[in-house]
Amino acid sequence: MTDPRERILSRLKSAPRRPLPDLPDWSPPAYGDQAMARFRAMLEAAHADVHEVSDAEWPERLRAILAGKGVRVVLFAPATAAGRRLARDWAGGEGPSLVAYDRPVEEMKPVLVHEAQAAVTEARGGIAQTGSLVLWPGADEPRLMSLLPPIHVAVVARSRIRDSLAETMAAEGWAGTMPTNAVLVSGPSKTADIEQTLAYGVHGPKELIVLVIGDAR
């Protein structure tokens, strides 16, 4: 008796050949100079807070925002550029304290699952069409940061906002460089499973705060 793999594949291969249909033209939408406005509007429609801030002032702005929400424990990634800025700019001041996600999850579960109230990650880019953040978590910035704490803060460069996922994948050559995990985040966690009533934060973050870093206009 052959194994299931052989049996399945041989059945599929013995099926009649069929013609390969053409791939009809399709182009994803483009927004020109409206990309940032679309990105912001879509994220806000999905219940996210979007702040456009300068590179110089974002750590302070964020400290004020989180302090205003009563956040005391903030998870951060010390090896990323954003993490280094936070460590430097928040040192010594009043406000939330930083906890580094710098060990394997197995050693950090209590902090991750129950204690951290917010986490700050970088976003590799943004997508205007859908109001999405592109996250490529990795060794320096673990996956659960954008998922377990009730507030997720993402820092994204304005210059990295593109029109569509299709454009992003093509322009950045994703097909040759897929990371362990690539994620699009388009708002806080939500569900409509109960009578199609929207509720936020059912499993992931209840709030998503997006800091768009770029030239203040």
Partner: protein, 477 residues
Amino acid sequence: MAAEARVSDFGGKAHVALNDPKLRANFRRAMDGLMAKRAAQFDDPAEWTALRARGAAIRARALARLPDLLERLEANLTRNGITVHWAETPAEANAAVLGILRQAGAKRVIKGKSMVTEEIHLNAHLEANGITAVESDLGEYIIQLAGQAPSHIVMPCIHMNKVEIAELFADKIEGQTYTEDVDELCAAARKALRDRFADADAGISGVNFAVAETGTLVLIENEGNGRLSTTLPPLHIAVTGIEKVVERLDDVAPLLSLLPRSATGQIITTYVNMISSPRKAGEKDGPRQVHLVLLDNGRSRVYADVQLADTLRCIRCAACMNHCPVYTRVGGHTYTFTYPGPIGKILTPQLEGLDCAGDQPHASSLCGACAEVCPVQIPIPDLLARLRTEAVRPASPAVRGGGSGRSLADTLGWAGWTAMYSSPRLYGLSSRMMGLFGNLIPAWMPMLKQWTRVRTKPRFAGKSLHQIARERGFSND
């Protein structure tokens, strides 16, 4: 473990559902909402037409090369460190999952939403083998607490209203007091499931698209439970049907632009989760092992028929059921098997056999609302008609249970019909007889009895159009 033998009883179950006003109201409200939200997403017909043509072609092209793409997918997943398992039957798939869990010593499983694991009844199999699988998608969690099956492939508990859910939570969740507040109900689920995620030895999920080119599993969801299930536990097992493969990563963007918009009227789901490998050296989280179980369960037989293979294009958006006038009135449980609605009516008889689900292709007025909204252009009414044909065709090899719908009465009835309508002379004679005596047929006669229960008896005209045309001098040629 022997699979539970089930036979479709569409008429019987529909009778129960149709007489349940609460159920009818729950579905009608939900489907009206979903139809309106979808329509708002596709308000530009040109964009819809182009995008849908692209989506349909992507799926058709993937199917045209299915065996090659599966081999490529397997090679790339393996290169990425993801282990691939093949299962011909639900029993093999269940055994594969159980084997992986046992090898890892896993006892507690957290699950993301997956219709394929519903199809193989994985939870029951694990339970019977001492492993607890907790559903974490809110809708799935609710129906698991209620001991029910999903009634919709995207919104599993759509048949329940919040009063029913409030009662269920108060009854089944420790320390939960009765509340109909949706935010509070969600918070209760979050609290109850938080430690289940943290304690789980393994996470099990489905897959929306498996990308052959890169060896990537794409999963979409709104709650974050899918990402948690595939990130927090040390072991992740994904289970999917062999048809879910697409060729290139570029294919994902147009399909993603079709799926959530068709399903729930969202431009995108909150999370799009693309998994290409287990945790790599230096990474601090993510599962250390990732497995993919590829399930056949009859799909390769569906594939063998070029027309019926269109069934396998499906991306499980549920737009067909959201727009189906039958599904809206009878709900998902009437379909007995895992996949309800129009897609279920074509898929189930092919997977389970026409001998046990042959009534489903007939439970349709062939109105075509499903095909109109299908984002990958599956010609569902044509496939329903084809399955009706296979059911009455002598010794049909194309579909399991083919020919099982044949009966002497049916054969004779249609032979008589054909004799009448293929002979102008016989037709003329019969229509004249009907004109003269048809109205004397009593309302208790078989078909008339069903008809007149809610309608008046149709009246035969005294003269047929044939007669009138002759009398009025309309030319015959």
